[in-house]
């Protein structure tokens, strides 16, 4: 999948905006939103918020997690843990990129937040790489993808499944003669080995 497709999916997340115009309810495929009252906060999908923001029709209320302290905690947690920690949002990268891109003046400490989100992203990506390698080394049976966001899963997508598929094919073709018993052994080993790695 292309990152833009992931972005498209992420754009359906609801964010809070403060419109500066008044308008009736609008009816969209993804639901009805409104009525818009100038100055009153309301929830709309991210893509609509971006569109209104670009037309200078609203102010974006930054999500709760887009806060220096919260992100600092997440980053520390992520550094400390061997596993992936839960992100505040399934599409944190998409949301951060769009909101900070179009509405950085609405977010306090935008520059620092940008840096820290990039830090978190980098930590998680390098963790993803090491655990992919460890998973393959330990047997490549299966890996758990707890707390990985869609964008991150997408980045591992062509390589990891194709490598696991390839490994399975070698196993199937080359090990035809090897007894069922030893096959059974390797698969239980890889399960116990890989479950800790991801």
């Amino acid at each position: 999948m292309d990152p833009y497709e992931v972005e498209f999916i992420g754009e359906n997340r609801i964010v809070s905006i403060i419109p500066n115009f008044t308008y009736d309810k609008i009816y969209l495929i993804c639901g009805e939103f409104g009525p818009f009252r100038a100055g009153l906060p309301m929830n709309v999908p991210l893509w609509l918020a971006m569109m209104l923001k670009q037309k200078q029709k609203c102010r974006i209320v930054p999500p709760d997690w887009m806060d220096l302290d919260v992100l600092e905690n997440i980053k520390e947690e992520e550094k400390r843990s061997r596993f992936f920690t839960k992100m505040p949002n399934e599409h944190y990268m998409v949301e951060a990129k769009l909101i900070l891109g179009a509405a950085s003046e609405d977010v306090p400490n935008a520059a620092e937040i940008k840096t820290i989100i990039k830090d978190i992203w980098d930590i998680r990506m390098s963790k993803l790489r090491t655990s992919m390698d460890a998973l393959m080394k330990s047997g490549g049976g299966y890996g758990r993808l707890d707390h990985l966001t869609m964008m991150e899963i997408n980045s591992a997508k062509p390589l990891l499944p194709s490598a696991m598929d390839y490994l399975l094919q070698i196993q199937m073709k080359a090990q035809k003669k090897v007894t069922q018993q030893s096959l059974l052994n390797t698969s239980t080993f890889s399960q116990s080995g890989s479950s800790q790695n991801t």
Partner: protein
């Protein structure tokens, strides 16, 4: 390997590899198979290198006409190298279709060790795939990969590139701050504070 169907070019190339075989019976008028033979007939016990597709069909006859021997890259000496550190091996030079050929060969290995070697080798070399798809020195990183590994690395590389362009796009690029890029300096600064 997923394309090991009848018309797959990879599969045709793989099955065209020469495999050392020992003929078990006298074959009249087949002397031309052995370039060094003077006779018209092929004697039992001759060692000849024949393509895999021929060896397979001669082997599957009852009784088998040939016994298939392991090519040297699947023999003990090479297997030891691969088991020790598969990442040091230039697969492109060794055999471009190492895994695919190995799958065919594994059937003829009585001890079943070739299969394990193949699996171990691929597991160890996965690290090379990972680094090849992010590496900036793409020629150097891709060079030692086998044909199928190159294909996988190229696929992964294009996703990696797409992700990088996505991250770069727009007026507000989420970039690494200078402070983070100079991480060592940051540590030094922290140390100086104490």
């Amino acid at each position: 390997m997923e394309n090991s169907n009848y018309l797959s070019v990879t599969d045709i190339l793989v099955t065209n590899e020469k495999i050392p075989c020992k003929f078990l019976h006298d074959l009249p008028k087949m002397g031309f198979l052995d370039p060094s033979a003077a006779d018209n007939d092929l004697k039992a016990g001759t060692n000849v290198e024949i393509p895999l597709w021929l060896a397979e069909s001669l082997y599957s006859r009852r009784p088998p006409l040939v016994s298939v021997e392991l090519p040297k890259i699947y023999k003990d000496s090479y297997r030891e190298i691969l088991n020790a550190d598969a990442c040091t091996v230039d697969m492109h030079k060794l055999n471009q279709h190492f895994y695919e050929l190995g799958c065919y060969i594994a059937k003829h290995d009585i001890k079943g060790e070739v299969a394990n070697t193949l699996i171990n080798t691929f597991r160890q070399r996965f690290r090379m795939l990972l680094s090849a798809c992010v590496s900036t020195d793409s020629v150097g990183a891709i060079q030692p990969l086998s044909a199928s590994e190159r294909q996988q690395a190229a696929d992964a590389g294009s996703t990696e590139k797409a992700l990088a362009t996505w991250l770069q796009r727009g007026d507000s690029v989420l970039t690494t701050a200078n402070m983070v890029a100079n991480h060592r300096k940051r540590k030094r600064a922290e140390m100086e504070m104490f």
